[in-house]
């Protein structure tokens, strides 16, 4: 089967927008800015796009009307959850492989900062949320904290074990001119961060900022005609762990193992061949759960595995080279997809991982998902 390739990526300025704190931005406008950049990056005409997938935007009609994409052959809109970034790309792959569309634009807009998103409290409701809210339980971070507290006790993890994750993300962001938070942090600063949902501290949390991201994908055959480095989706897989709680009873280990088995088999690689990984880090413990579920580190030992520079840019497995959700931008996995592409194209500037040919995206969440991307010259 022919492969699907990512031919265009676009992101809005994250850092500059964050500094301009008083602005009120529209999520559609942010998405449109990213789309224009992705289209320019792909070097194709707008009318070549025949598939439209939007995310976090309440109306694909409005988005399509703003962009003048009136008659797509395939269209859908995805909810605001970050796990949907991978699901949207999987949909694009399936749509292209099925012949329902040839060139699909995926467009995401997030004005969380302008809109004052809080990700918790009475307004953040699922059908069963009132049963938890009666006890003050709310927010995805708190459900992840619940997992991490158990993880700490099960594996006798010392305080501060998450610090290398926050510190590495920040060190990467310092090399990313587009990142929101670029001032390096020390372990001392990490530990001085206030608790939010204890045991998680401030620097374990993703940012809340405004931005947009767009991807344009098509067949590998078409991608080859554009005269650019070709980045293909070698494999993609997902597995749900769907309950009323974001807290997974095995820290998503089994579904992650399932997804790992599928993507590595389909891509014909092992973990050793992954040059750079973009790991969904709404909260830092998810990086540990990802490394264990996907077989990079032993179960219960990833907190040791990540120390001593192993996940830094020059290390064995560079992770979240743009700074991730805690330092670059909280674009719910979308900007991590873009970073994977930029790394494989060799366009990551100072933060470039030299010779990166294989990149992996991992999202450990109620929909565990992963893709393997490869540069094919």
């Amino acid at each position: 089967m022919s492969r699907v390739a990512i031919i265009g990526v676009g992101t809005t300025p994250f850092g500059a927008y964050y500094k301009d704190r008083d602005a009120t931005r529209s999520d559609y406008d942010l998405a449109a800015l990213a789309f224009a950049e992705a289209l320019d990056d792909a070097g194709i005409a707008k009318d070549e796009i025949d598939g439209l997938l939007t995310a976090r935007l309440s109306s694909y009609n409005r988005m399509a009307d703003m962009l003048g994409l009136r008659r797509p052959s395939f269209v859908n809109g995805f909810e605001a959850a970050g796990r949907m970034s991978a699901v949207a790309l999987q949909t694009a792959v399936a749509v292209i492989e099925a012949g329902l569309a040839t060139t699909v634009a995926l467009i995401y807009g997030n004005n969380g900062r302008s809109a004052g998103a809080r990700y918790g409290g009475d307004a953040y409701a699922s059908p069963t949320a009132p049963f938890d809210a009666a006890y003050g339980m709310t927010s995805p971070g708190a459900y992840v904290a619940m997992m991490y507290q158990r993880y700490q006790e099960l594996y006798q993890v010392p305080e501060g074990a998450l610090a290398p994750l926050a510190i590495t993300n920040r060190a990467n962001a310092a090399l990313n001119p587009n990142a929101v938070m670029r001032t390096p942090i020390t372990e001392e600063a990490y530990l001085a961060g206030r608790f939010v949902a204890e045991p998680l501290r401030l620097f374990d949390y993703c940012l809340i900022n405004d931005g947009g991201v767009a991807l344009i994908v098509t067949t590998e055959e078409r991608a080859r005609k554009l005269g650019r480095p070709v980045v293909t989706i070698e494999a993609t897989a997902a597995c749900g762990d769907l309950t009323n709680y974001y807290t997974s009873r095995d820290f998503f280990f089994e579904p992650a193992e399932t997804v790992a088995r599928r993507v590595y088999k389909r891509a014909g690689i092992t973990t050793a061949q992954v040059d750079v990984a973009q790991i969904y880090d709404n909260f830092t413990p998810t990086i540990l759960f990802s490394l264990e579920g996907f077989g990079f580190a032993e179960r219960g030992r990833s907190w040791e595995w990540v120390r001593d520079g192993r996940i830094a840019r020059g290390g064995e497995l560079p992770i979240n080279t743009s700074g991730g959700h805690t330092s670059e931008s909280y674009m719910q996995g979308w900007a991590l997809h873009v970073e994977a592409v930029r790394q494989l194209r060799g366009e990551a500037g100072e933060r470039q991982v030299s010779g990166a040919e294989v990149a992996q995206y991992i999202c450990v969440s109620p929909i565990v998902s992963s893709h393997i991307f490869r540069r094919r010259d």
Binding site: D122, F131, Y135, G136, T138, S139, R150, F195, V196, T243
Partner: protein, 131 residues
């Protein structure tokens, strides 16, 4: 079709009764309330009394203000308990629990009022002999 009113659960709590739905066909317990059994999809059920015992799976201490100040005093602890009957439950620890007990601690339900005094909540206290 059976319509489940979530209020049915809370009304029993208000009366100091910890009752959960149990499938009439396959006898599977469930929580939170749902109109059908997640095991066999059966719609017939009864509100039955579980043992009220469970095991601490984990806990957190919330420092962030997400709810109005009259609802919770910061920081406060939240427990995640695996009930002996199977369901998991977000809950609280009983007042007077000095520190959150370690994971695996055996606990039992007691009722206490929320801060506003308008809701009786099932919460858990340790039943381990050395506590």
């Amino acid at each position: 079709m059976t319509i489940v009113d979530d209020a049915a659960y809370w009304q029993r709590c208000a009366a100091g009764e910890f009752a959960l739905q149990r499938c009439a066909s396959c006898r599977t317990w469930r929580y939170p309330p749902s109109p059908l059994c997640p095991n066999c999809l059966g719609r017939e059920f009864a509100w039955e009394l579980p043992s009220g015992r469970g095991t601490v799976w984990s806990w957190i201490r919330m420092h962030q203000r997400y709810f109005p100040a009259d609802a919770f005093d910061l920081p406060y602890e939240v427990a995640f308990v695996e009930l002996d009957e199977g369901p998991f439950m977000i809950a609280g620890f009983a007042a007077g629990t000095a520190a959150p007990p370690p994971i695996g601690t055996r606990v039992a339900v007691v009722f206490q009022s929320n801060k506003r005094g308008d809701q009786q909540l099932p919460v858990f206290r340790s039943i381990e002999v050395n506590q």
